[in-house]
């Protein structure tokens, strides 16, 4: 198998995953662009002055205000039927007693006694029915989606124009009491506020009682224009007990008393609004779009007559966002810019007994202002993005200009109203509803088809990974046709789809295009595999073995379906990792006692191959395991708490040093951080030295010797400046500022140039050539040149002289006349891993720079951990000479777990508020002008640092067992009992460890193993993303879906993409080294021929 097909095959598999992720995301995550435009009093939304000419009047904006004050009582999860008046039962029928029906008696009483003062509506809520999204809708009049693009992820504050903003800019005093979500949404907007934590869903009373303590005193004090009370008891009762519980009756009765008390205290200029933000299901949950969740109650009451007619028999159904423009105009405020609600015209009729003609005119003008505002918003929105359907937008515009023209006509001669008034009202309403409909279409609907399709595609890709990883090592499997046919099919399907959509005239959706291509390429592959599979082979060996590893993987997947476990994943991952490590140790012990010389689960085909040496003393693996556990626990100290667990305390070590007060501790910490940097450098240098690669005169090695210390120096200097910038004397300010710009850039530049060097000359080998060595090949002459005189290098230096001689025997035969040439090459045995380790350390330094200083300790732990883990895994893997080479499932799973654990221990959490935004300013302290990709890149590199490092380092899993081979013979020699045996087999005794050159000996198997490794890693990651997608789609009605599952899915998806790219790069690097080694051999042979 060649290299390029391997990479292409992996890229194709990645593409399948990407297509699945994109399809799922497009169906699941609804996106919308947030516009920051504001409506203002001075700028009416369109031409045409209102008939009353109220511009000059104080307290009047687009329309004169009808109420100067408003009391907004928000009862969380007040479903419509909770407030619905119950008709008196027909005698003889059994009375149905349900705890939540008919408990709001005061509403019913008022509706009956004062029909012109009050009205109950069924408000139709747009999903997602979660409180924060609903609050956004209730204040902005828009349809919040999960990802409101452009919003600031670091805080939840609403950036769009909203009622609260309009109220504050009009100078109204807002008093708030209740749910503390408002604090995040409107920081600093309230003149007085009493916030209560909404976190504990099981606590029914704290919030409500807290509100009641302040509600009436505040109301009586009169120090307010707008009073908002957000009660949570009903919602919490639903979550805890469900609606069918006596507690619900008590809670609703309490709310009834509250409303009663408020009504008694209302003054004539005050409007009372009682609203539910969403409903609840039969179980008391909400978040989704079922009928019960999206119906909420809305009740309006005013001590002055408000409505011209008595209420209809069945309460009217209105969209929830209608409240926003209605309230705005009633209070004499501009309608928020992004509102797409439609005013409730009844409220503008001027009350009971006003002239019908005038009241109709007032209604139409309210509608017209509303329509002008929506039209202005549609203009602005469609200019900013292409979300909305162009065709329908045009139709709407036409409709609006027609209605607008007839409105102007109407204003000129208001006498001939009548019929034209009615048609105008109908037209304006049609426009507003149309506008709402097209926004809804693009913003607020899960596409179940796309979600299912995406999940199916992901599942199929995982299955394919499993299948292909098994097939990759089986000899003679035709991968080239297996790759070509599916790609051809995929392209064909994509072309077909594109052609079809072009001929039908619709837009080509790139997501669907990708999905069609991916889905089209799958069946041919599966069909071919099926044909080649044969009936004899069972499907069982497909699954990851051994059984406990499979169980561990399944456990991990199951945890994605529980919000508690997703929140606690930072602790659950180290737990699973520790379990896997202990299992590996125990498994080693368990198998050690085999009567035959041990060989683990590796199927050995080449039976004549010498077995891997029984390497280590008994406690070796145990010591590795304990060391790993210790490192895991230590890195667990760097833990950031998720928001959902208030009892947990984040590690103080995750804050930058600059925030520390107290010089001594700061200096000590600084010393520790620099110590960690130096230790990282020393560890890598020691490692390279041990395998001899540090002797090579090649440029990358020189870079490691001289460039890395420079990078450490630069990083340390930058940290010193960053942590002490405020204490710098004023004269040096400019210098400090300049240095804090230049130093990080210099370090990154150095790292990049080091990587370039590594790519250019990846072979780090020292060659010594000397003439006149012995011609006989049976006796090996150990080279005793100057660099190997050190005792520790004696056994490590992989002398592959004989090996090379055998390999190039034929050519050497021809050159024999010119005299024998002996070539000794050192460090060839670790040439691949040396390049990998160098690349990793070069990658680690810039990533380290993006984190806060003290995370450098975590990076040190990370390298130690992976080193120990690789050793432990290598102890459980046997080395075969001829292949096929296999990477065990436990190795890949442990690697993925380690990557995940490091994600958490570097202070990250899969929530948007935990992203380290400061990373964008490393090297750019003044921010970025207009480019968004550079800060995104920096923040992304910070967030997914562990994914990058572990994915790039993945090939080490394959290489390490070969590297550890070199320790075998030495150990054996130390054992006294083995001497006789060693003497009996002198041939084997003398054999030098070939280490990674074994891989080169079997290039076909090498490439197959790389492919298998890539596929296995992709499988482990892919199953995670599949589980996340399934959890998000199955639990899309869950309370926590937007808080926990959706962010987790997004982080997993981006992490998967980053990891897969890193994996491809890592494998490509190994292949590059391989190619360079090949050309190096060729050059060597040419040199010998001369």
């Amino acid at each position: 198998m060649q290299k390029v097909p391997v990479l292409l095959f992996l890229a194709w598999v990645c593409f399948l995953f990407y297509a699945g992720i994109a399809l799922f995301t497009s169906g699941f995550l609804l996106t919308r662009l947030e516009l920051t435009n504001q409506s203002s009093c001075q700028e009416p939304p369109g031409p045409g002055s209102p008939p009353w000419g109220s511009q000059g009047k104080p307290g009047a904006c687009w329309m004169p205000s009808r109420f100067s004050r408003v009391v907004l009582v928000l009862i969380d999860a007040l479903r419509f039927d909770f407030a619905q008046p119950q008709r008196s039962y027909v005698p003889g029928e059994p009375a149905v007693s349900v705890p939540f029906l008919g408990k709001l008696g005061s509403l019913q009483r008022i509706l009956e006694t004062q029909p012109h003062h009050a009205r109950l509506y069924q408000s139709q809520v747009d999903p997602p029915t979660t409180t924060m999204q609903r609050l956004k809708a209730l204040t902005t009049g828009s349809l919040p989606t999960f990802v409101d693009a452009g919003s600031n992820f670091a805080s939840h504050a609403i950036v769009e124009d909203n009622l609260i903003k309009q109220l504050t800019s009009a100078g109204r005093r807002i008093v708030f009491m209740g749910d503390d979500t408002w604090k995040d949404l409107f920081p600093g907007a309230f003149s007085q506020a009493f916030f209560f934590s909404s976190f504990n869903v099981r606590d029914l009373h704290t919030v409500d009682n807290g509100i009641l303590e302040h509600l009436y005193p505040t109301m009586d004090s009169g120090e307010w224009d707008v009073l908002i009370a957000h009660f949570l008891g009903v919602d919490h009762c639903g979550h805890k007990h469900g609606p069918h519980h006596p507690e619900m009756a008590k809670k609703l009765s309490q709310m009834d008393q509250v409303i009663q008390g408020l009504i008694e205290r209302l003054e004539n200029d005050t409007l009372l609004v009682v609203a539910g933000d969403h409903g609840m299901t039969m179980n008391g949950d909400h978040g989704g779009d079922s009928e019960l969740e999206v119906s909420a109650a809305l009740f309006l009451y005013s001590p002055t007559a408000l409505f011209p007619t008595a209420p209809p028999e069945e309460p009217e159904v209105i969209p929830q966002v209608s409240l926003v423009p209605t309230l705005a105009l009633l209070l004499g405020l501009p309608i928020p810019f992004g509102n797409i609600g439609e005013v409730m015209t009844e409220l503008f009729s001027g009350g009971h007994g006003s002239h019908p003609q005038a009241s109709a005119l007032a209604q139409v003008s309210a509608l017209h202002i509303n329509a002008q505002q929506v039209s202005r918003f549609l203009h602005a929105y469609s200019a900013a993005t292409q979300d909305l359907q162009v065709k329908e937008l045009h139709q709407l515009q036409k409709l609006f200009s027609k209605a607008s023209a007839s409105y102007q006509q109407l204003l000129q001669n208001p006498q001939e109203a009548g019929a034209s008034l009615r048609t105008l009202t109908a037209e304006l309403q049609q426009f507003l509803r149309g506008a709402r409909a097209i926004c809804l279409e693009s913003w607020a609907r899960f596409s179940l088809v796309r979600m299912a399709g995406g999940a199916a595609l992901l599942a199929a890709a995982c299955f394919l990974c499993l299948l292909a990883s098994q097939l990759a090592v089986s000899p003679g499997f035709p991968f080239r046709p297996l790759l070509l046919t599916p790609v051809a099919w995929g392209l064909t399907w994509a072309m077909l789809y594109a052609g079809l959509s072009v001929t039908t005239g619709s837009k080509v959706d790139s997501v669907v295009l990708g999905a069609v291509a991916a889905a089209g390429s799958l069946p041919p592959f599966l069909w071919k595999v099926w044909a080649n599979w044969g009936s004899t082979r069972p499907l069982v060996p497909l699954l990851p073995a051994p059984l406990p590893v499979l169980l561990l993987l399944l456990t991990r997947l199951a945890t994605f379906f529980s919000d508690s476990f997703v929140v606690a994943e930072a602790r659950a991952t180290p737990f699973l990792l520790c379990s896997l490590i202990l299992f590996l140790v125990a498994h080693l012990h368990w198998e050690d006692q085999l009567l035959q010389p041990k060989l683990l689960t590796v199927p050995r085909l080449g039976s004549s191959a010498p077995t891997g040496p029984p390497r280590h003393s008994g406690t070796y693996a145990l010591r590795l395991g304990i060391g790993l556990l210790l490192c895991t626990r230590l890195s667990g100290l760097f833990h950031r708490c998720p928001e959902e667990t208030p009892a947990c305390h984040s590690s103080p070590w995750l804050s930058p040093l600059a925030s520390m007060v107290g010089g001594q501790a700061k200096n000590l910490w600084y010393g520790a951080c620099v110590g960690a940097l130096v230790a990282l450098l020393v560890v890598v240098r020691l490692w390279l030295r041990r395998y001899g690669n540090l002797k090579s005169p090649e440029p990358p090695v020189l870079f490691v010797r001289w460039g890395l210390p420079l990078m450490v120096l630069g990083t340390a200097a930058y940290w010193a400046l960053a942590s002490g910038a405020d204490e710098a004397p004023p004269r040096l300010r400019a210098l400090v500022a300049g240095a804090s710009v230049m130093l990080p850039r210099a370090v990154m530049g150095l790292a990049a140039s080091g990587l370039m060097l590594l790519l250019w000359r990846p072979v780090t080998v020292l060659v010594k050539a000397g003439a006149g060595a012995s011609r006989t090949r049976t006796i090996l002459t150990p080279f005793s040149g100057p660099p190997t005189s050190q005792a520790d290098l004696d056994y490590v230096v992989p002398q592959i002289y004989r090996h090379m001689q055998e390999e190039f025997q034929g050519r050497l035969e021809r050159t024999r006349t010119q005299g024998p040439v002996t070539v000794a090459a050192y460090q060839l045995g670790s040439v691949y891993s040396a390049a990998m380790v160098t690349a990793l350390i070069l990658l680690a330094f810039p990533l380290l720079l993006l984190h806060v200083e003290r995370v450098s300790l975590v990076f040190l732990l990370l390298f130690l951990q992976s080193f120990l883990l690789l050793h432990l895994l290598a102890a459980g893997t046997s080395v075969t000479t001829t292949g096929p080479f296999v990477v065990l499932w436990q190795a890949v799973s442990a690697w993925a777990l380690l990557a995940n654990q490091t994600f958490y221990s570097t202070g990250h959490q899969p929530v948007f508020s935990a992203i380290h935004w400061h990373a964008a300013f490393v090297g750019f302290p003044d921010g970025h002008d207009s480019s968004t990709w550079l800060p995104a890149l920096l923040v992304g590199a910070n967030t997914f640092a562990s994914h990058i490092l572990f994915a790039v380092g993945c090939p080490l899993l394959l290489l390490w067992p070969f590297l550890c081979e070199s320790q075998g013979p030495r150990k054996r020699q130390q054992l006294p009992g083995c001497e006789a045996e060693a003497r009996a087999r002198p041939e084997e005794e003398r054999e030098e460890p070939l280490m990674e050159m074994r891989l080169r000996d079997a290039p076909h198997h090498f490439n197959a193993a790389l492919l298998q490794l890539g596929l296995k890693y992709l499988f482990v990651l892919g199953v995670q993303i599949l589980a996340c997608a399934l959890a998000a789609s199955i639990l899309r009605r869950h309370l926590m879906v937007w808080k926990v599952f959706a962010p987790k899915f997004i982080f997993e998806a981006i992490g998967f993409i980053v990891s897969s790219v890193g994996l491809l790069l890592g494998i490509a690097l190994v292949m590059r080294v391989d190619g360079a080694v090949s050309s190096w051999f060729r050059r060597l042979v040419l040199a010998q021929q001369r």
Partner: protein
Amino acid sequence: MKDTDIKRLLYSNLLCVFSVFLSVFIPSLFLDNFSILETHLTWLCTCSTSVTGVNLLLHLVVKPNVSSRRSSLSHKVSRVLKCCIYFLLSCFFLHIIFVLYGAPLIELVLETFLFAVILSTFTTVPCLCLLGPNLKAWLRVFSRNGVTSIWENSLQITTISSFIGAWLGAFPIPLDWERPWQVWPISCTLGATFGYVAGLVSSPLWIYWNRKQLTYKSN
């Protein structure tokens, strides 16, 4: 291997199960307000003592292992002392493992240590009774094809199931059910106890069902 052996194993194992149950019911006769969850530490102590007592009793009465040749008093005393030291060491070792697994280092030290004690009671004490303070024998029993009698086989099964039970017991801790038994280390101790009991009950049955396949090297 005879059926009578298996029967003896079953009875002695049932006695151990009985001792676990005793530890639940007996203290409530003497102590007010005794319950497993609220006075958890007391229960841990009583359970540990009663299981240790029954194990020692069984060791003395049933004598499943071949008694050592030398039986001088000093040898016996040193053996007993060694056993105590081994038990303590295993407690400390398990405590360290728990802390490495993520248990709090400073808070709840007593709880964590008592958990280590009870897990040692379920695992180390039977080992000490059956195999004596002989690490090599322990390592032999816990490896493939290492067991040489049904007693050792049963020991292997109960020990592994105790550990698995304790491991599974950690899973409910992060869940937000807010039950009293979700607090560290109650769920783990309960899990270990259930695992121990399950191992005790299932090992004779498992041995009985597999008695045709089981061939011990020297028995």
